[in-house]
């Protein structure tokens, strides 16, 4: 079920009305949990049991960790939790990747071994909820929080439908305290949330879904198109994935907020970051935060030894890539992002002085950072390494490109979108909207919603991050 389709509108209307009609905190939570499982089942009922296993397993593990003061016992419970979650990921998401890679290595070494293949689908949202539950047991183990004694709260933390299938990745210590309180409708900031939902809807339904047609047309047969069209397709894809994912996050945050719960921000205008390091603090912020806190820091974090620090960064970014997809081209994509960050940090550390006005320096940094992301996305979007390298070859002129061009118009459209994006950043229309009276706000909202619907496709396109 996608946030932009009619089924979700009906689902959320019912959930919203019943949730606020119920008086008791516990009854609301039970209802929300049932609704969340129903939401998941509507998309993929087969793997609902995995969510239950992950929830129950980590609930028990956290209680086990907390009940003991013995370091070894605590560590065993933690390892059990990690084994469960990473095991689920390993089987359902990465098994094929590991088997294929192992087969390639063995073949290269001269051993023609046929390894068993597992034909199993990718459970929706597994990369998100498994990371969420692992953070819970990791925080309990690190004594950053006490485990919850209520299985209902744990289940709702894991299965809350706005963030269940594509984030934001929520921390237990941010969300569980909210479940201990009873939300009040009078306290819900309705106008900001409705505005946020509309912005997210616009990004996903009006921008991402429509421009994806051009990207799909290019990647259907890259050899047909000119080098300029290749660059255009990558540029459009960058906007597509940003609008798709940030739009989803906006709608998820808005839906949760309208039910009285706060989810963390996940995007903060990453395309306007002036360096790679800043970019990754603004793109998929909850994933970056997760990997920073539980991987980068565990590896030693920002050590004095520069090379060790850079090694830790590259490992983390490789995992970012691997998280997105079980294939080497995703890993390469992650590593390229890591290279960008290392180049920036080296440059910054060298304190190279460039005699330019600040705005130009920032502008140059933003352009370079954005371009690096766009060019690197060829490895993200392509189906495999061969396709990706062939596109790179055409862009560089090493491989002959085709004759078909999308023309000038799409470039102008992308320029317009960029201006709108910058306008949102600089002008902060959400503040203007918040200042309007109720009547004016809802009239403006109605007008904008009608305009959005006119540019919404009736054929529903799934969120890109549902694949992860």
């Amino acid at each position: 079920m996608i946030f932009t389709e009619h089924r979700f509108a009906a689902f959320f209307a019912v959930v919203f009305l019943v949730h606020w009609a119920l008086r008791g905190r516990e009854s609301r939570k039970v209802f929300l949990l049932a609704a969340s499982y129903g939401f998941y089942a509507a998309s993929d009922w087969r793997f609902l049991s995995l969510i239950l296993v992950s929830t129950l397993g980590d609930f028990i593990a956290a209680r086990g960790i907390s009940a003991s003061q013995d370091v070894r016992v605590r560590r065993l419970w933690l390892l059990g939790s990690l084994a469960l979650n990473l095991g689920l990921l390993g089987v359902f998401k990465y098994y094929g990747f590991f088997v294929d890679s192992a087969s390639d290595v063995l073949s290269w070494l001269g051993f023609g071994v046929s390894l068993p293949v597992l034909q199993v689908g990718l459970p929706l949202g597994i990369s998100f909820y498994s990371f969420q539950t692992m953070s819970y047991t990791l925080d309990v183990h690190a004594r950053r929080m006490e485990p919850t004694r209520r299985l209902l709260d744990m289940a709702l933390f894991v299965g809350f439908f706005p963030q269940l299938v594509a984030g934001p990745i929520v921390r237990a210590r941010e969300f569980l305290p909210q479940l201990a309180r009873t939300p009040r409708w009078a306290d819900v900031p309705v106008k900001p949330l409705l505005w946020l939902f509309l912005v997210g809807f616009f990004k996903k339904a009006c921008v991402s879904d429509n421009i994806s047609v051009l990207v799909d047309a290019y990647f259907l047969d890259p050899a047909l198109h000119t080098s300029a069209s290749a660059l255009l397709a990558l540029l459009v894809f960058a906007f597509q994935i940003y609008c798709d994912f940030s739009g989803y996050s906006d709608m998820a945050i808005a839906c949760a907020g309208l039910l009285g719960y706060v989810l963390p921000q996940n995007f903060d205008f990453p395309f306007l970051a002036s360096n790679s390091s800043q970019f990754w603090n603004r793109w998929h912020m909850t994933l970056t935060r997760w990997l920073h806190d539980y991987v980068f820091s565990a590896l030693g974090g920002k050590l004095r030894d520069t090379w060790r620090r850079y090694f830790n960064l590259m490992v983390t970014m490789a995992l970012v890539g691997l998280w997105h997809g079980a294939a080497w081209h995703f890993v390469l994509w992650g590593l390229l992002q890591g290279v960008g960050t290392i180049v920036y940090r080296t440059w910054h550390k060298a304190k190279v002085t460039v005699r330019l006005p600040r705005i130009l320096r920032l502008g140059f940094g933003t352009a370079v950072t954005f371009s690096w992301f766009v060019l690197g996305s060829v490895f993200f979007r392509s189906d495999n390494m061969d396709v990706a390298w062939s596109i790179v070859g055409r862009i560089l002129g090493v491989i002959e490109a085709g004759p078909e061009s999308f023309g000038l118009a799409p470039w102008l459209v992308m320029g317009g979108l960029a201006l709108v994006h910058i306008g949102f950043y600089r002008l902060r229309p959400e503040r203007t909207m918040a200042a309007l009276s109720d009547g004016s706000f809802y009239v403006v909202l109605g007008v904008l919603a009608a305009c959005c619907l006119a540019f919404t496709r009736a054929d529903v396109r799934p969120f890109i991050y549902f694949k992860f």
């Binding site: 009078a186 819900v188 900001p192 429509n210 047609v213 959400e430 009736a458």
Partner: protein, 366 residues
Amino acid sequence: MNDQGEKSVSAMADVSPGNTPLGTFRNGLVFLLTLVACTLLLGRVLPPAGDRITAIKTAGLGQHLSDCNLLVLGSSASFHGVNPAVFDAVTAEQGLVTHTYNMAMPGTCLAENYHILERIAGEPPADLRWILVEAETVMRVRNSGYFLTAKNIAWHDASTTRLTIPYIAGLELAPLMEWKSHWRSGVSLTYNLLGVGRGLPWVESSLGLGVTDEESARWIGPARNGFRPVSIEPDHWDLKSREFFLKNPGHFGHRMRLLVQERVPVGEPSMTALPYFRRIVDLASSMGARVIFYTLQGSYVGREVVAMAKAGQVDSLVRLDDKRRYPELFDVEYSYDGTHFTEEGAAVLSRYLANAFVQDERELRR
């Protein structure tokens, strides 16, 4: 509340929301009324609704405005079944010169074909004299991507919506399917009302994805005059239908027996769709053209339609759903998937249709 959570809406959080149920209801009402009013206004500004194939065929017709004198409107059965080259050859043999353009489109029925005709009326072929319209009153496609009138979702305007409401209310379906069909109809209505997707033609042309000559030629011509044999680049659903058809020949035979016995399958259309017959006739008259309705072996032709024809409420109704007169049209050898004809079947259909048309024209002149 945590810092991250507050940051998400802190930029614009209300100082004191103080929401009340009555206030919320009032605000919701203001929003909905504005939404509907704005949608109706936008409907006058935005381009006519339609999908890719509509754009391709309309562009194709634009290349035949000076010579076309006969249009064919209908569903995919006609899109893949009426071959203008064969049709024109048969009529020419009998002394009637026709230049046919096949304007039929997949997933359309009478309501949608009326809207296609409305657009054509804006710039009709100069010498238009006849319009052959497939009397497919309701497209009953249960594919998840379609609703009851399959292209209903694309043809959004107030008049379509207004006529769809009584149709939905009078829907006669098996009880098991009823709730699902009513839900889909309701969604379709809502999409109509809210003008979903009306601006997409602008989007496609701005992205350089408008109809190209190459695409038009690949799909419908130029030599084929709008006709497309179903075997040319069949899509996923065409192939699935074909596969099912080949594996279940008995299913086709059963449907044909039902139709021959005039036992219409479950889902007989209500009288609501029938006013479109009159509307099409009146619109065609305003363009100086005569309408001949025709039925195919797969049409869900109700007794009401036949009664209307007998009562003279439609000018002409040619019934090709008669197994005794047109046996090949019920033959599995000429069928691609039980609904559409193969290229050989299309040639047979086109000959029959042309002959029936010539006969009808002669009777009129008498």
